[in-house]
Symmetry: C2
Subunit: 342 residues, 2 copies
DNA sequence: GTTAGCACTCTCAGCGATTGAGTGCTAATC
DNA sequence: GATTAGCACTCAATCGCTGAGAGTGCTAAC
């Protein structure tokens, strides 16, 4: 259902006001702010219509109107102009990205923290598991007598390491040889395709060092277990303390608990999203715990898997800003991943 | 100044009650709870004395008394019996420690989270920088054309890694040789003692690969910069949401902000502490931001440097439980570091 | 030294009156 | 027919008041 121009203007005006003030918006203030050339009474009539249509609601009879979730939905779908990063923000972002030539995880957390600062909502970045990348190199480095460090490097440059026990009799050279043998057998193998029979052959090759081989396999198993999980970076969770809708302690605690725990956060983000900016408003969210919050999330291409980046905030959210910023940062992550890291 | 037995009993009674309920304690309830063989009127007199001495204070005339910070101090110094972990708690702890044979940082975070769960306060563990450990092994592993991974293993098994650029012409074997050369020169050198002239010699040795050498040195510098910082693990920050003294949003935000940022947290913890359990109450804290909170912190021996573990909570804290638990866990970290990791 | 008794203090919850923002309706106007 | 001015009405929020309740401090008696 489409709205005529005037109704649209009024709806937008109410949304903007309400998002800013968190207070119900009255007919007078709509007229004042947007100095439309109509009277408050006319606006009242239009507002009554909008309420009938479901785009507005009234907390109680003698209060102003607030946008309903359906109202926000209409705004987001039919009227919203995404507001992209302005010059000063871009400057800050570039500074951040340039100063840091470190690990991918550093960049992700910097971008996440930038996102939360710019939008003033909690941000999250989900980095998918690396199951599609390939073994590149396996090394075993002695640390102390009986302890060694197992290193696995994948083709995308992800490093996994784990301490393992080795016989104290074994020499550094021998460990190196074992590492090389593993490299030979596994190099180019995708992590999830690692075949047991290849490994068996390996075990035959080095039969006098079976104990070490077994330790290594065990460690690789554990590492893969770990790497199977996608990682989640959360930033700016405390931003919700600024939102008046969360002055209630119980609500606050429920939300903050989710925003503190990777696992909980992962559960509330929709599995299937498009690469574009996805917005889910209030009760549109499947997860019960966040049915008074909104999500703005986009996918980015992380070595063939879809990563996710977005913000979570109150239904009364600056969708225009959030959507624009999330979109920009999604693109930047895409770029970085395709150019800088290969 | 020492108190007579009866005053002590009354003070303790008031402290216990107040810590539990967060409400001022009246003379009647003191008599009732601890069924002392004296009347409320007598208790009132004693309470008036305790107030004169500064151990109690009165929020307003017709309310009960609450312990002053000085009262808590007296209790902690002269009366407190530390309450150690009970059997069921020990069982949980053992389970946690056994299931996890991974990295040291995992253990630290598990212990931290256990501490916050048992005490219901926010916990922190500070792991000192590793500046006293020695180089053990340097490796350079090619990832893709023009990119390689630099790995440094120290004698305590800490691994540092960083991606570096290398000439795309360079071979895997050559990188390995360079790594070996570094290992030869640096092995056994303490990180903070790494001498520039040793490195210069190295640079001479491999003069046809100066670019790579320089890249490696640059990366080592950055890594050492990073490793110079102690790391901080915070757990259970949201526990303060349960404390009625933080129902005020501004206070809450101030405290949570500190508990979310490693750097801020580090600043509020006293530099100099003894290895034993240190307790600072309210205004005893130098940092202004936490002058309505208390710290319970102990030092543990982390490869010769002092690490710190503790909790932070309201002045109205169960010091007996917090002190006992912190002490136990301090000892456990000490043990783990001396036995398991060497 | 201890206690019972009592007047006094102060907070807190509940209640009614007041205020003010905002609506909805009606009748007049463009 | 759309728009607007005017006005009665509604309802949350605020203020001031009151009474109840908890607790103290003092005094006088034990």
């Amino acid at each position: 259902m489409s709205l005529d121009t005037r109704k649209s203007k009024i709806l937008e005006s109410i949304i903007r006001d309400y998002v800013e003030t968190a207070e119900p918006v009255g007919s007078r203030s709509v007229v004042r702010k947007h100095n439309l050339r109509i009277s408050a009474a006319t606006v009242r009539n239009e507002m009554a219509d909008l309420e009938d249509m479901g785009y507005l609601e009234q907390p109680h009879t003698s209060a102003g109107r607030i946008p309903s979730e359906m109202g926000f939905r209409y705004y987001v779908d039919c009227m919203m102009q995404k507001e992209t990063l302005d010059d000063s923000e871009l400057e800050i972002l570039n500074k951040i990205l340039n100063e840091n030539i470190g690990e991918w995880s550093d960049i992700v957390s910097k971008v996440g923290s930038f996102l939360s600062q710019v939008t003033n909502y909690a941000s999250f970045v989900i980095v998918p598991s690396i199951k599609l990348s390939e073994f590149k190199n396996v090394q075993i480095i002695p640390i102390t007598d009986g302890k060694a460090m197992l290193l696995v490097v994948t083709d995308v440059g992800v490093l996994m390491h784990r301490r393992i026990d080795v016989p104290s009799s074994i020499s550094s050279e021998e460990l190196q040889l074992i590492g090389k043998a593993f490299t030979r057998v596994l190099s180019g193998t995708r992590l999830e395709e690692m075949r047991r029979n290849e490994l068996k052959a390996l075990r035959e090759d080095l039969k006098n060092r079976r104990k070490v081989i077994d330790k290594v396999l065990e460690a690789v198993d554990v590492m893969m277990q770990g790497s199977r999980d996608e990682s989640v970076v959360i930033s700016g969770a405390l931003n919700i303390l600024n939102e008046p809708e969360f002055k209630d302690m119980d609500k606050l605690k429920r939300i903050l608990t989710i925003l503190e725990e990777d696992i909980l956060l992962k559960q509330i983000i929709p599995e299937k999203i498009s690469e574009d900016v996805n917005i889910t408003i209030g009760k549109e969210n499947k997860a019960e715990d966040i049915q008074e919050m909104s999500l703005v999330v986009a996918g980015y291409n992380n070595f063939g898997e879809m990563g996710k980046i977005g913000v979570i905030g109150p239904v009364r959210m600056e969708y225009w800003k959030a959507a624009g910023t999330v979109e920009s940062l999604r693109n930047i992550l895409d770029q970085l991943l395709s150019k800088k890291f290969f």
